[in-house]
């Protein structure tokens, strides 16, 4: 992707939409996950109370994050964990590299970590001659295909089993044309088992870090984080600083919400609490900022840091479901990605807050009650004010504002619009008109509402009867 010019969201979405059957399948598959989430949530009588509680805990974290971080580091050090601080992605990658260098490691196994995607760690390490293998099955598949994940929880959700079969045939030598998921998963299991057994270093993400105890929790269904970490001499855990929660007992709230919101499971298969390294082994934590402290200072957008990366907002989003994760050109796609990305790079990600209908479904399913659609709307205003929107949109909006502000101009514009649409439709029904891209133009009314009202209001009727 790096060599090609990045398409903006709507361009990429129209490429994705060329295969209608596939888009429908993508849409339905994600909606199915959303429905599983609903069924699971509905079984918990206290669901709304849980969301409210989680939101309050995260609010408390945001306002005390400095002290919690200091406390977390102190406790982690007491536990024998090495703590590193990285101001940005570059520093994160350098720290990871230096740890690997110290141990003379040339190959590393990695479980799912969106942060390392955000920092482009794999590319960085490849340049340094270090091979990284992603061990989450979905990530393994997209890595073999040299693609980024398209979803934070379901990295290969854009692919069909035929695609996976083709990829595995090419890279793992599986039977051509065998599309059986059981068979394909078994092949990956064998290949990755060998990886787990031969790597001295393992990197994992962090789902929650507990200030009170200095431990951190990693959740997986496959057991890949544990297979990596427990067989390696060195375990590196990368975390954005917003992953902190105050106390161990708060995990009760978040672990009840996370998997139910993500896939509808009551909990992930493994919820592993890492507190101390094994005897003679090492655990390193890299605490990463990379723009988070800036986002913390944006009053309208700081709540995005409450995110626990469940992906519920993506599964429910009508735009995500029909445009695919890759069209967001960001490590985190979908509604939450669209409010996180502009903070990282406003001009590069100016299109993303517009990739939404503002229907609010994301906000309604968010387990920590982030006001996602409000933030999307607010980002649009910031982006326009700071000049990051395309000229065509700015001119159109300015013209519209001028027309709407002046009744005479509005009248004339309406009349001429109706005339054009009726008599020279090609002037609007053409490729220049972005609105017409996915829509039919409406039937042309004979008269404007204003004209109709003039004839039909009580006053004018009374006048006629005089």
């Amino acid at each position: 992707m790096s060599s090609k010019k990045t398409l903006d969201h709507s361009q990429a979405a129209s490429v994705f939409n060329k295969d209608e059957a596939r888009v429908n399948w993508h849409d339905e598959t994600l909606w199915f996950v959303r429905e599983k989430r609903d069924r699971s949530a509905n079984q918990i009588a206290d669901w709304e109370l849980l969301r409210e509680t989680a939101s309050k805990i995260k609010n408390n974290v945001l306002s005390n994050i400095h002290d919690y971080l200091v406390q977390f580091e102190e406790k982690a050090l007491e536990n024998g964990i090495v703590v590193h601080w990285a101001a940005d992605g570059k520093e994160h990658n350098e720290i990871v590299h230096s740890i690997l260098q110290k141990h003379n490691v040339k190959q590393m196994v990695k479980s799912k970590s969106m942060l390392t995607e955000e920092c482009h760690l794999n590319d960085y390490l490849a340049e340094k001659g270090i091979e990284v293998i992603d061990s989450d099955l979905g990530e393994y598949i997209v890595q073999l295909r040299k693609e980024p994940p398209s979803h934070i929880v379901l990295p290969a959700i854009h692919l069909k089993k035929e695609d996976v079969s083709e990829t595995f045939h090419e890279h793992l030598g599986t039977e051509k044309g065998n599309f059986n998921p059981q068979y394909l998963t078994e092949s990956a299991r064998h290949s990755l088992r060998n990886t787990f057994l031969t790597r001295k270093a393992a990197l994992t993400g962090v789902n929650f870090a507990i200030a009170e105890t200095g431990e951190f929790v990693v959740c997986t269904n496959e057991g890949n984080a544990d297979m990596g970490a427990h067989l390696a001499d060195v375990h590196i855990a990368s975390m954005g600083f917003e992953k902190l929660i105050p106390q161990r007992k708060h995990l009760g709230v978040f672990l009840r919400l996370l998997a139910r919101s993500a896939t509808g499971q009551p909990i992930t298969t493994f919820s592993s609490h890492f507190k101390k390294p094994r005897d003679g082994k090492e655990i390193h934590i890299v605490i990463v900022d990379n723009g988070r402290s800036t986002q913390l200072g944006r009053e309208d957008f700081r709540n995005s840091l409450k995110c626990i990366r469940c992906g519920a907002c993506m599964n429910t989003c009508p735009v995500y479901r029909r445009s695919g994760g890759h069209s967001y050109h960001n490590a985190v796609a979908g509604p939450i990605g669209s409010i996180l990305a502009p903070n990282l790079d406003m001009s590069k990600n100016a299109d993303l807050p517009f990739a939404s209908t503002l229907c609010g479904s994301c906000t309604n399913v968010c387990p920590v009650k982030i006001d996602i659609h409000d933030q999307l709307y607010k980002w649009r205003q910031v982006l326009v004010k700071e000049g990051h929107t395309p000229a065509s949109k700015t001119i159109a909006m300015k013209t519209m504002a001028a027309v709407l502000a002046n009744p005479t101009v509005f009248n004339i514009a309406g009349k001429s619009g109706r005339f054009v649409m009726k008599n020279i439709p090609a002037m609007v029904n053409n490729k220049m008109n972005k609105w017409y891209d996915q829509r039919e133009m409406p039937e042309v009314p004979e008269e404007s509402f204003r004209e109709w009202y003039k004839k039909n209001s009580r006053e004018s009727k009374a006048k006629d009867n005089e």
Binding site: T53, S63, N64, L197, R256, P266, S271
Partner: protein, 195 residues
């Protein structure tokens, strides 16, 4: 200035000035349901299975009838020495790669999600429940509790180097959302519910 100092300074500057209090967790986890029945149903739903037993002999009989005894079986439970090895706790964890079945005990189970809480003092080795082809966990029926809130009340300030909740066998649905058991960890989980 070090990155740590710079990050912490900026956070201090940018974090909200108002403090929001931590919510009361006491209001959560009061749902009432049949704990044991819920545990069993949830475990089945997520691909695990259970057997109710009244003593270790019944566990031994079950293992003999359902697993290949000539393959490598390891445990941390001395009562099972007839069918499983106990002498692997100080071995290199990589040497556990040929283990067919690991049998361990759990401190307690959680009914709402069928998770079983284990810590390294009862795991023998951290890798043991993950690297085996199959996993068996023994838990006492009266140690099944309702929700995760009771779970963390029970864990309290328990000291451990590593602890994990295990809920069902290792699984993935990363290929077209088709559920496959046995992604990297155990292909099957049997829970012995002990009287």
């Amino acid at each position: 200035m070090s990155s740590k100092a710079a990050i912490l300074n900026k956070i201090k500057q940018n974090q909200p000035g108002f403090a929001s209090d931590l919510p009361d967790l006491g209001v959560l986890g009061s749902e009432q349901f049949d704990v044991l029945e819920t545990y069993k149903t949830v475990l089945k739903n997520i691909g695990g299975d259970f057997v109710e037993v009244s003593n270790y002999d019944e566990i031994i009989t079950y293992i003999k009838n359902n697993y290949e005894l000539q393959k490598r079986i390891i445990t941390t439970v001395p009562e099972l020495s007839e069918i499983a090895r106990l002498d692997w706790k100080n071995d290199d964890p990589h040497s556990l790669q040929d283990v067919e079945l690991t049998i361990i005990k759990a401190h307690f189970g959680v009914a709402e999600n069928s998770g079983l809480w284990v810590t390294d003092d009862i795991l023998g080795q951290r890798a043991a429940p993950f690297i085996a082809q199959y996993l068996a966990i023994i838990v006492q029926k009266n140690n099944i509790i309702r929700t995760m809130h009771q779970a963390y009340e029970r864990i309290g300030n328990q000291e451990y180097g590593f602890g994990t909740f295990i809920a069902g066998p290792s699984k993935t649905a990363d290929i077209e959302q088709s559920l496959v058991l046995g992604a990297h960890g155990a292909r099957g989980l049997i829970v012995f519910l002990l009287d």
